[in-house]
Symmetry: C2
Subunit: 915 residues, 2 copies
């Protein structure tokens, strides 16, 4: 037996039994209806049957708790009293709507019934009340149609089937030569009511109930039943809504916006949901019902027109707008109806908004002292910041292009922003075209480190293969380039210099214009105008002053609050001084990952580096390294100079050596002649370096262990650059990071090399540099033996890209065959390369951190994988106590915000739970 | 201040202050000398200065504890009394030897001095006592030479330098036209003594000490110093002997076997160390010193001859032999000297032995009631069993071949045993040559699944690339083939059909004979006779009866004891009925891993399988699968039949699909025409399946998730085969294993497929099959989320090969570039693919087991990686509570023994500590 719960909550007459905090019991709609009543807004009276009744219904063979009937009757009496009308009364009938309302919004998934309470008697009363027979019979017709469908089950058998009521309606119009429903007279509608009823009887065997009370219980039952219809079940699965939550049922007095020219209906937002501007925003129609506003058959008027048309109602709405914002402290979305000159509020909820608007409103509301800074920050999804940072397409132009069928394909939204340009099918072509002043989109099957210069010359990068953390995606994000990756519909033919698109009869040639949207993954044929971000113009291009940009001021306020709240440091992954400069502009507090290998890809260096790789003797190798030394030193110096005292974590050589060697016959020939060796010798060298699983092969510290001279050169370049900087009065904090350590002995060996080189250099330069030697934790074994490793390593940086690969046994380069399907089928909730897998990989990060700090309590611990820029992952990093996250420059603001949110959520359990 | 320790332990006169358990204090030699005295063996009296003095010496600037001098004097008095001679006395001088003796044997690493106590006076006494001036002066000469070298430091400067004493000796012989030392007279030797002394004075500045007491302390100091000489330090590092252990110093009365024809010397083993036969085994020489027996300048006589030559001594030795074995309960290695008719025992220690002898002796000693079964088992290193199982080369022939410079190279000892045959450079050639009755050695750069038939046709497999767990090694061990892998000195030229060897001027052509030793890794040019193992003849070939083979009887006894003691089950990895049959003969209790993919490599199947892979539609794929179904069913049926009721774990398809497709142009053409598709279509299919990191790619359950119809077919084949077997009265216990699970959802999806197919089949056949569905834990994430996985999986099998790869981030195919160096440089103590890395990978196995059992207490947990056949890893598996290990058929006996040892060691902490 269930406890004697309260099953029915009345609202109306300036007080309600419920309130907005009772969403779990009353559903979102019911709770907000109650709340509106509580703050004295004009709401048609009604009552909510709780979600507990739904739960009871399903666990008790579709029956109700005993006391429910009485409770409903009692509430109904209250409604009658408030609305001064009586349910089923011939003269003055009360009509009600019955609507579902779950804890989470499930738009359109469940059933509703309007105008309930009408029958052949009460329709007369309605005519009397409104003096409008056509309106009354149209309402009656609509009610019978809805009831027949929802409650009595006369509905299309499948999708191809037509709605039987619509067939009858059409027949009626045809008969009289009408085109529009509105041409039908009251009598026609009356006939239809009868025809509908007899069709129901004939097709379903059910009599249409004339007793309003019978109608009511039938409708309540139908709404509860609709919680388990197929659409609703699928929707809940997709949106992770537990079926145990159940739905509430709202029974509310009907009000009509179509009772004549003194009636109307509208929707409004308390602020502009697109721009966030503090303006009342909405639309209305006179003599219309809500569906007319939505359907677009008539063009609604902007809410500001109401001022002229009905100042009283307008003023009332303005005052309600203020009341709502003062009460809810947020931008609200409302529906209202004007019935014969009286304003009724039918619904209110937190309004949906663009990212841009979310930020603007949150910041404005702090300034208006409506909300706290913490609340502002907790309301902005960090990724929404992208809308402030990235160039975007002009949305009208975009719509036009899509209407013209110019959308070619969709790939992964790997690097946000929008870019238009001519197709270049090789990095070399991209550079050449860019040098002529063309805007270029580099289109490749996949990119490799050799393409870096071409990528840099392009506006955006589009690849046919590879995931969110493929080479193209990683580098693009670091460079701040727009990128659509893994667009598998593209079939690129390098020989023919063009590409085709699966399922489209189109050939895009090199030089043709395309546009890519890295925020949505869309690839569009032709050129679409882009808008640059104001924030970028202030921070990076410096084409406008901060003071002149209100968007920038909004951004700056938000960021300053986030910085005050967050406790984690935010660093950046940057390999070059210009990247470091961008990152500083975005607020980076250090470099968490400087990949030295990227420095070898310049024209002057790649040859030297290749010479080093193909060297047969230690002597040859050392000679090549000696030539690389001054170049590396210069790189490090310029980075130290930019970072001036902020910590810079430099990783020693990591990728497999074969990544630096060419693979095509032509390029091999070229290299052989440049190196003055035989092609066959070079070929066999390349072959000997080729690997079956390069990800698990000869890379990371393994290279430095077999060729200690490489680590020596790099350590020397770092410490010499540091000395040079220090001599010029620049502060330096180098942190030398050994990659891919699996066993403490590997670290010890590399650390010894670094320290002895550093000692030697410092002695020679007669200087002391404060430097650290630490390691990347990117293999499960390193995390599991972190206690041993921390005996020697002064810092840890979790390389969660590789750690994810090894923990899952999943190559991000090869996962394209199955990972998308995994995510689609919800085998995995997220792509683990995008969002840190907290259960598995995260467990290793946690274990590694705890074990490391057990040995070395002051161990500095950070993360430098791509997850360092992903909000949920950042929150996890905060919760397990990391000192910093490091991400690509353009994600630094997002990380700052996410880190602040992590503090707020972990301090405020309540907020966390709701989230 | 050190505590008042006892620093000196006397032995002699039928009682000793020490005993054999005091090795840590007295060293091995000192402890056993004491023990021999305690059991009343005739031992020349002496005393041992403890290892604590050594420790004191090094922590106190090379000084001794104060009381040491007195203690030594007291002990020396005792020796004098016992031996009835006086140290330094002119008439009846006591001579002593000074020898090092550490806790662990460090043969030849430290210094010894013999004949100490001689000077110009005492040498006269020695002449008087022996009536042999030449003997006396020769002893004196040897003493001065040794003392000059060891104590006073007159020695060769480096390796190229000649011994200065030998130069003088040679000069003396030359002067008199002698060739042998024995031609020198007493006077010549007397002259040499004087010349040696003056050379010492001249070269080192030291006077040779005439005072025996000064000699003694000089020698003691020199022995302690030698603990820290370079050789000793390197040896300790290599053998993991802590330098804190220190060495003891043994001072013992000299006895001489070269005092005439009534004197002699010998070494003996209480049983035959090569065969283990219970026979007194040894050699002796009359009128000789120990070094003469060892040096091989004279040919010693077998100990049995002594019976004729000196029955009294012989009987005395026989009785000592018995006493020693009764006392030590083991085969002992002794040195003895007969001085003027009296027998003296100079040393005794546990005798080294072949694996064969170790087993024989241990089993015999149990039967003789000398030791317990547990002791017998703890004395046999499991790998020694290989000597009972594998064919071996005739050792004399082998020696001959090596002397003739026929040793070509050394690779990894990947599949034990010995094999000779003609070189075949392709699997096809191997098959063809074998079909003509030739014995074949398949020589490949590396092998692939396509080579399986050729491998099976060969006696042995030799590869130039790949490690201990490469494809060649894995398959060879499973087939019981001899295998030498990763022999990188081989340069194989498939076009020229030959191979060359680095650093050797030799070309080995296809068809030439070579021999490979998979126990040592040696590759020899030419044919060497092999001996088949008797145990194999009984168990597998059944060419002799068990009762007729004493070796088999020994083996059978040992195994029966091991089976009684062990608690873990031993299963086997077998893919075919014949392998399963072998494994059963070796005592397997089930199949722990049946790799279904190996079943697809038959001629009739590979085409069908390839058809399935290249299928473009579900329909085509299902059609190909339907053709494979009856073949798989037949395979499973025949395995169930062989295993009759023993559990059979069958893994669903695991390897990447591209492994089944050809890669050479020629083969692609062939396949395309067989499949009736265009070459270009097939090529693009192969390309689309190619992966950057196949190890981390589209394989394991990922295939079954994308193509559920494959899992369906396999489940159907398994359950149908089980039904067929059951119908014929065969018991069946199928365990269906899902590979490469990283997330519980993957398992759930595959489990659902398996169970629904099983239900369908059982319903149709109207039968009930008891089957389990479980998973391989071979990814770190699976181990870390084992609690979730165990909610559904009914068993776990740790795939430690892949788990090692992912935990270390190390591809076993690519590790050849650095892993050997890692092991060589002791960055890693072992190749983690050979010996389970307990700290890292083992931690995951432990975590996974504990978490899994927390959810499902009766979870069956095993291991089926290669480590399942490696003794140390098996011990680990026992200690963390696994239910079974599974290994290749030929390692089953080894695993049975190792599992028994694990029980003994974990029960008996003492044994464990000593180990």
């Amino acid at each position: 037996m269930p406890k004697a719960h309260k099953y029915v909550y009345f609202f109306g007459n300036k007080k309600a039994e419920g309130k907005s905090e009772m969403k779990h019991l009353l559903g979102g709609k019911g709770a907000n209806l109650a709340e509106m009543v509580n703050i004295r807004l004009p709401v048609p009276a009604g009552f909510t049957i709780t979600t507990e009744v739904c739960t009871y219904y399903y666990s008790n063979k579709n029956t109700y708790p005993k006391k429910l009937k009485n409770d409903v009757l009692k509430a109904l009496k209250n409604v009658e009293k408030t609305m001064k009308a009586k349910f089923g009364e011939a003269d003055n009938p009360l009509l009600v709507s019955i609507r579902s309302g779950a804890r989470a919004s499930m738009p359109g998934m469940m059933d509703s019934i309007l105008n309930l309470g009408l029958n052949d008697t009460t329709v007369k009363g309605l005519i009397k009340k409104t003096d409008n027979p056509r309106f009354a019979y149209d309402s009656y017709r609509r009610f019978v149609q809805m009831y027949g469908d929802v409650v009595l089950g006369l509905r299309p058998v499948d999708k191809t089937d037509e709605d039987p009521f619509e067939i009858m309606l059409d027949r009626k119009k045809k008969k009289h030569g009408f085109k529009l429903d509105t041409e039908l007279s009251a009598d026609h509608l009356k006939e239809l009511v009868a025809e509908f009823k007899s069709a129901i009887k004939k097709k379903t065997g059910h009599d249409f109930p004339n007793d309003p009370m019978e109608q009511l219980w039938g409708a309540i039952g139908a709404v509860f039943s609709s919680w388990m219809n197929d659409r609703a079940i699928v929707y809940r699965q997709l949106n992770h809504i537990p079926s145990e939550w159940g739905t509430a049922v709202n029974v509310q007095s009907m009000v009509f916006g179509n009772m004549g020219e003194d009636s109307g209906t509208g929707v409004a937002f308390t602020r502009d949901p697109a721009t966030g501007d503090n303006l009342f925003y909405g639309e209305y129609l006179f003599n219309a019902q809500g569906e007319d506003v939505v359907a677009g058959t008539r063009t609604p008027n902007p809410i500001s027109d109401l001022k002229k048309e009905n100042l009283k109602i307008y003023k009332e709405l303005i005052s309600i707008r203020k009341k709502l914002e003062q009460h809810y402290k947020d931008m609200m979305d409302v529906e209202f109806t004007i019935q014969q000159g009286k304003l009724w509020m039918l619904q209110c909820r937190i309004g949906k908004r663009t990212g841009f608007a979310a930020i603007k409103m949150a910041v404005d509301m702090v300034k208006e002292k409506l909300i706290s800074k913490e609340t502002a920050i907790s309301r902005i999804e960090p990724n929404q910041l992208n809308q402030l940072l990235r160039p975007i397409f002009d949305s009208k132009e975009m719509k036009k292009a899509i209407n013209k069928n110019k959308l070619l394909a969709k790939g992964l939204n790997a690097g946000p922003g929008a870019a238009s340009g001519r197709v270049a099918l090789s990095a070399h072509d991209a550079e050449e075209m860019a040098s002529k002043g063309e805007k270029v989109i580099l289109v490749r099957i996949e990119t490799s480190p050799e393409d870096i210069k071409g990528m840099n010359a392009s506006e955006g990068i589009l690849t046919a293969r590879g995931g969110m953390t493929s080479h193209a995606a990683l580098v693009a994000r670091q460079m701040g380039k727009v990128c659509v990756a893994g667009c598998s519909a593209l079939k690129i033919d390098y020989k023919k210099r063009n590409f085709t698109v699966d399922g489209k009869n189109i050939v895009v040639k090199e030089g043709d214009y395309i546009s890519i949207d890295g925020t949505t993954g869309e690839v569009i044929l032709g050129k679409i105008k882009t808008k640059p971000s104001e924030v970028i113009q202030v921070l990076i291009s410096k084409t406008i002053e901060g003071k002149k940009s209100s968007v920038y001021k909004t951004y700056a306020s938000l960021m300053s609050w986030a910085d005050k709240i967050r406790t984690m440091n935010i660093r950046t992954n940057a390999d070059q001084d210009d990247q470091a400069e961008n990152a500083l502009a975005f607020g980076a507090e250090g470099i968490g990952l400087c990949r030295t290998e990227h420095m070898f890809f310049g024209d002057d260096r790649i040859m030297l580096f290749r010479k080093m790789i193909v060297a047969d003797t230690l002597e040859e190798r050392k000679k090549a390294l000696a030539e690389l030394l001054p170049l590396q030193r210069k790189d490090f110096y310029s980075i130290f100079k930019v970072m001036n005292g902020k910590p810079v974590t430099i990783r020693t050589l990591d990728p497999p050596l074969h990544e630096f060697l060419p693979h095509s016959e032509k390029e091999i020939k070229k290299l052989a002649s440049a190196l003055k060796i035989k092609v066959s010798v070079l070929t066999s060298k390349i072959e000997s370096l080729s690997e079956i699983n390069p990800m698990l092969g000869f890379r990371g510290c393994r290279i430095g262990i077999i060729y200690p001279e490489i680590t020596e050169m790099q350590a020397q370049a770092i410490i010499e650059a540091a000395c040079k900087a220090k001599a010029k009065g620049i502060k330096v904090k180098p942190e030398i990071m050994i990659p891919l350590v699996s066993h403490i002995n590997e670290f010890k060996l590399q650390e010894k090399i670094v320290r002895s080189v550093a000692e030697r250099v410092m002695k020679k330069k007669k200087m002391k540099i404060d430097y650290l030697v630490g390691t990347m934790i990117e293999l499960p074994r390193a995390a599991l033996t972190a206690d041993q490793i921390a005996e020697h390593a002064e810092f840890f940086s979790f390389g969660t890209n590789d750690l994810t690969q090894t923990t899952f046994g999943l190559s991000r380069d090869d996962a394209g065959k199955f990972l998308p399907l995994y995510v689609e089928k919800e085998l995995l909730q997220n792509d683990p390369f995008e969002v840190l897998d907290q259960t598995g990989v995260g467990q290793l990060v946690k274990i590694g951190t705890e074990m490391g700090r057990a040995t070395r309590p002051n161990l500095k611990v950070g993360i430098c994988g791509e997850h360092g820029g992903e909000p949920a992952s950042i929150e996890f990093c905060h919760n397990i106590g990391l000192d910093y996250v490091s991400c690509s420059p353009f994600r630094v603001p997002i990380a700052r915000l996410a880190a602040a949110r992590a503090v707020i959520f972990s301090n405020d359990k309540k907020v966390k739970k709701i989230k």
